[in-house]
């Protein structure tokens, strides 16, 4: 899951103020505790973006009349910052807290803050998940801090109408055939750009494409020993140079993902393609409902790859960790993941569903009835898991900033890279 930049800025400020207060005064008066009023057990869910749990929660409450569940949603980075602050101060965290792939390594470094799920029946559920999904949230000491929700997978979402107007094919088979490699993807972009109306670009922004390319590399920002290898990993530099060239060729709308201007870009049709992990489809649909039928989904250049995907964790500070763990196990069970997939398009992390005709046969009407079930399960099967180091989320942010400096014309590719390497090195300590 990735952020749906919600309009809950007020909550952000409240959260920041609370976090600040709590951190400084070592008090924990902020956030949602539960006083267990009315005899019901109250469970809170701390989420970001759109997990598609609203209906599932109703279902669970109907089956468990003694449990009352509330959701609270913040934007991606605020959510993870708040969680860190709540864990630091020992209070204020929700009973169940979602953590994204980019941050899970950082949180599993302090496993004593979370309930070890293997001690509450998680060890018996282990086989539900893709092996790498299970191990990505497994702490060094063998404690399991989270149950996997979705995985990202990768595809390219594209605007049929814009491609057609530029004289390119719009049919998804033909479109997929246009870009077996990223180079072909950018070359197609140049053809598109030559005929595109003013204000319309080939891609939303460099950072999103970078994330997709990096997600396909066998090694990402870290090696297996948690050492940052940004400046010594040739795959990253090659991908960087490729995207810088595309930006120079004027293919990018220069929008940074999960900002309001990027969201506006969807509604205004500022770009023709966007790298599309499964959760991105939900994002597009939420953001630009008027574009229904105009979008379609093609395969990603270079096959496989992953961007995003989340975990549900149970902070130890919660009052009802046992009930919370049961709820988390239920929410991430294959049956529920299947429902989330068909309602929100989030790709399950439970491989038993990948051959389920209910899933593989699923087509998404918003995306011109694209066979996303087949497309994403195929992508998931091909997916080469990449090891995520402790501060992968922060490194990704630095890459976003560096690419923005290029897009804003403040630096050339080499200078931005050099500054990036310095910024990333500071994350190591």
């Amino acid at each position: 899951m990735r952020p749906k930049t919600t309009n809950r800025r007020i909550r952000l400020i409240a959260g920041a103020v609370c976090a600040g207060l709590a951190a400084v005064t070592a008090l924990s008066a902020c956030g949602g505790g539960d006083a267990g009023g009315g005899g019901k057990i109250k469970l809170s869910l701390g989420l970001f973006g759109n997990f598609g749990y609203t209906d599932l929660i109703k279902e669970y409450q109907a089956a468990h009349p003694d449990i009352e569940i509330t959701e609270r949603t913040a934007s991606y980075s605020d959510h993870h910052k708040n969680l860190a602050a709540h864990l630091a101060t020992g209070g204020g965290a929700a009973d169940i807290e979602a953590i994204d792939t980019g941050y899970v390594a950082q949180f599993k470094a302090t496993p004593d803050k979370f309930v070890d799920l293997t001690t509450v029946g998680g060890d018996k559920l282990k086989d539900r998940w893709l092996g790498w999904k299970w191990s990505a949230s497994l702490a060094k000491g063998g404690q399991q801090i989270g149950y996997g929700t979705d995985v990202g997978g990768l595809a390219i979402c594209y605007r049929r109408d814009l491609l057609q107007n530029a004289g390119l094919p719009a049919d998804r088979e033909a479109v997929s055939a246009l870009w077996p490699t990223w180079q072909a993807f950018f070359d197609t972009g140049k053809r598109f750009q030559a005929k595109a109306p003013t204000g319309v670009k080939w891609m939303d922004g460099g950072p999103t494409v970078l994330n997709a390319i990096f997600g396909q590399a066998p090694t990402g920002y870290y090696d297996q020993s948690d050492k940052l290898v940004v400046d010594s990993n040739p795959a990253l530099r090659a991908g960087w140079d490729q995207v810088v060239d595309a930006v120079k060729a004027n293919l990018s709308a220069g929008l940074l993902y999960s900002t309001p201007t990027w969201n506006t870009g969807f509604t205004q049709g500022q770009f023709a393609t966007v790298t599309c992990p499964a959760w991105m489809m939900t994002k597009i649909k939420d953001q630009a409902p008027d574009t229904s039928g105009k979008w379609d989904v093609a395969t990603v250049p270079g096959g496989g790859g992953n961007w995003g995907g989340s975990y549900l964790t149970i902070p130890k500070q919660g009052k009802h960790t046992k009930e919370a763990a049961e709820l988390a196990a239920w929410l991430t069970a294959p049956e529920q993941q299947a429902k989330v997939f068909t309602s929100q398009g989030l790709l399950p992390s439970t491989p038993s569903l990948y051959d389920d005709p209910k899933i593989t046969g699923y087509t998404n009407p918003f995306f011109n009835n694209a066979p996303v079930g087949k497309l994403f399960t195929d992508a998931a099967k091909k997916l080469n898991p990449q090891y995520q180091g402790p501060k992968a989320g922060d490194v990704q942010t630095e890459f976003g900033n560096a690419m923005q400096r290029v897009e804003q014309g403040k630096q050339d590719g080499a200078a931005a890279w050099q500054q990036l390497v310095g910024d990333v090195a500071k994350l190591q300590s």
Binding site: P3, T5, N7, R9, I10, L12, I13, A16, A19, G20, A23, V24, T25, A26, S75, Y76, S77, D78, K81, A84, A85, L87, A88, A109, T110, K113, G199, L256, Y257, S258, T259, P260, T261, W262, T264, G265, Q268, Q270, G393, D394, Q396, T397, G400, N401, A402, Q404, R405, Q408, G409, K410, Q411, K426, L427
Partner: protein, 306 residues
Amino acid sequence: MALTFADRRHKWDVKLSPFGFVSPYFLIFGVFGLFPLLYTAFVSLQKRNLLDAEGARFIGFGNYEQLLFHDPYFWNAMGNTVSLWLLTTIPQILFALGIAHLLNRRLRGRTLFRMGMILPNITSVAAVTIIFAQLFGRDFGLVNWVLSWFGGGHVDWQAGTASSHTAIAAMVVWRWTGYHALIFLASMQAIPSTMYEAATLDGARGWQQFWRITVPLLRPQIIFSTVIATTGNMRLLAEPLLFNPGTAAATGGSDRQFQTAALYLYEQGFTKYDFGYSSAIALILAVATMLVAGLSYLVTRRIQTD
């Protein structure tokens, strides 16, 4: 004559009760003011991860040394803070003086206008910032749209240093001008009209009266407003944070072009989890605030009362 118990009790009462009555303030100050301050000072001497208090280790003034001598991003943030302080405080006070002067005249619907002054200030800062960030949008912002009538309008407000500072200053000035204007207005009304009458007889006109009588007599209020605005702007956080939302919000732009010191503190503490380092920033920022507030006090004190 020996004191009875009642007498003695009365004596204690007179002596001790006042302390009892003022004690809530000191208790609250102790808990919410003094203790956090001392605790921050203590943490600032440690290498400490936000999530791992047990693993903290004492490093003396290491954080300060790093900050003051080896951290260009800190000085970048301080520079931005000072730039925004200048860009916000001076226009704020000048606009407030002008608006107060206008409202001090006889005009229709005066109370309505006066009440309107405070509206920006009671609006949620988050809401204000989100709306301003939209106004200053690159592709579909209202400001660029208006500029396009005059042949401009392709400003990427967030990308540049000057442009981003201008946009943020606009938010702060919009929000606080009315507040200061009301303070000035209240004191303007306390200036006896005889002073203006005498000035008129001496042949002084509107602007002369304003600069020679009104402004000097408002000196205490201007000092107050300047110091308040200064301390407020030194800890500017919400505006720059929300001007660039998304995953990179804490860095204040792709090249930290509008990262303030408070935002840098937030980044170090809550993104990098370097609790000791961010505490050191907090203390340096507190000292810097006192210095800058003192400076602005000295400058405003020089307003002539001739």
